[in-house]
Amino acid sequence: MAEEFEPKIVAFLCKWCSSAGSDLAGVSRMEYPANVVPIQVMCSGSVSPLYIFSAFNKGADGVLVSGCHPGDCHYIKGNFYARRRLALVKKLLEHIGLEPQRFQVSWVSAAEGTKYTQIIKDFVKELKPLGPQTKLRREAQ
């Protein structure tokens, strides 16, 4: 029997909320799929659209950007900027025909370990039927 497809997710987690939230999920021994490669960034507002395109380019099946809830940003307004920018990225990716499920944004606070696990579970569940992301992936040379 063929092995089930396991999507690879790149998650950009902000240092102050989402990364701490994922940490909480870890230390609380909550179970969630091991498909995520977390990358800690200083703020969701520091995530350049290029990071996202580049992640898809280098073989990610899904990309998650997660930051603090609006109003809770460590840098006061970083996630407000992120909200605008990421909305445009999402629209652009949909415009070129990438499946909209492949790019997700979420707000996860440092106390929301359960929410984080739920988001990852849902994300993996949505990605599985789509299969590997080949549209923007660089062909192996």
């Binding site: 659209p49 290029l50 395109f53 580049s54 380019n57 609006p70 307004k77 407000f80 900027y81 909200r83 605008r84 920018r85 909305a87 445009l88 990225v89 999402k90 629209k91 652009l92 990716l93 949909e94 415009h95 070129i96 025909g97 990438l98 499946e99 909209p100 997700q104 944004v105 979420s106 707000w107 988001i119 849902d122 549209k135 923007l136 992936r137 660089r138 062909e139």
Partner: protein, 343 residues
């Protein structure tokens, strides 16, 4: 007095009084109907200026070059540079001013409304003429254009030859100027974002197939980047030359250098390039259509930029190039920005 006579008279006066360093405008081209950009320094040369629907170039691009040139000069000429601006060019100047790339006192804008409301699209014209070559385009007395070819004259209604962007243009009159030449002649606007309708009707898979076919053609000549008045970064992120390689740069340093994308013209790399360009122009692209015009492979690049312009309008009610004092799209936010896509 027709517009062109008025342009010449105004330009002559400015140059004679020495108010401007030089004036950037259009002259009769050397290759067929298309006009050339021209830099006029002497008052007696103003006769070279032309003004007709073949003046397609966005002259705001030259302001970017001028800034670079000036920064290299030891004793720069402090006088402003005169530029002839159409509606779209004036919006480009507004964005450059908004981003504080150029100073208002460094430019002197001669605003002109587009003749018959737009410029000719070379692809549309080529389709109409078949194998014949257009030598000259003249304005007809009604809403039509007279094309001179080697086999005589042909007449077409203006709307059939105007570029798509001109038909959709929200303001073919200059929005910012020091001198307005001629009257403001606004043409009735076609549906805004009309060119997007077709592609938005497609299913995601069909859209992907469309874009894959288009983007795969790209040879990465970067003509779109060179022609764009908004692509003025000194170093472009797609160039991968940002690492200064010195004799003592170690192999490890070179290896660790992030390569966001390869130089090769593979589909995946081309996509990253075009997506990055589109997102960098979000809220800045003023739809002058230069990228699409200069593309040697006819990739409909406008559709990428136009899509983001449309989303900016729908989501944030942001209009590009209307107000110098408006904060730019991605460097501002509202508490009420939609976030229904966020979990």
């Amino acid at each position: 007095m027709t517009k062109i006579e008025e342009i010449k008279a105004t330009a002559k006066k400015l140059l004679e009084e020495g108010k401007v360093k030089y004036i950037i405008g259009y002259e009769q081209g050397t290759n067929g109907w298309l006009s050339n950009p021209v830099f006029i320094k002497k008052p007696e040369d103003v006769e070279r200026f032309v003004w007709d629907p073949s003046c397609v170039h966005n002259l705001a691009k030259f302001l970017v070059d001028e800034k670079r040139r000036k920064s290299r000069e030891k004793q720069p000429d402090k006088r402003p540079v005169g530029v002839i601006v159409k509606g779209c060019d004036s919006r480009a100047v507004i964005v450059l001013l908004q981003e504080k790339f150029i100073n208002r006192e460094d430019v002197f804008l001669l605003g002109v409304s587009c003749e018959q409301g737009g410029v000719v699209d070379d692809k549309k014209l080529a389709k109409k003429l078949g194998k014949k070559n257009a030598k000259k385009i003249e304005l007809g007395d009604k809403d039509n254009l007279i094309i001179t070819t080697e086999e005589g004259k042909l007449e077409f209604p203006t709307t059939e030859l105007l570029a798509e962007r001109c038909l959709e243009c929200k303001a073919n009159v200059p929005l910012i100027f020091d001198v307005l030449v001629g009257d403001k002649t606004q043409r009735p606007q076609d549906k805004p974002f009309k060119s997007l309708e077709e592609i938005e009707k497609l299913s995601p898979e069909e859209r992907w197939n469309f874009w894959r076919e288009q983007i795969e053609k790209c040879v990465r000549c970067y003509a779109c980047r060179s022609a764009c008045p908004m692509c003025y970064c000194d170093e472009c992120v797609v160039d991968s030359i940002n690492l200064a390689v010195a004799p003592d740069t170690s192999a490890e340093e070179k290896a660790l250098k992030i390569r966001w994308l390869d130089k090769s013209t593979e589909k995946s790399e081309n996509f990253v390039y075009h997506l990055v360009r589109a997102i960098h122009l979000a809220g800045r692209c003023i739809d002058c259509g230069e990228c699409e015009r200069v593309c040697p492979l006819d990739i409909p690049l406008r559709l990428l930029n136009k899509k983001l312009e449309k989303e900016a309008k729908l989501l944030y009610d942001y209009e590009v190039g209307c107000d110098v004092n408006q904060p730019s799209l991605v460097s501002s936010f509202k508490d009420t920005d939609p976030e229904d896509f966020i979990r």
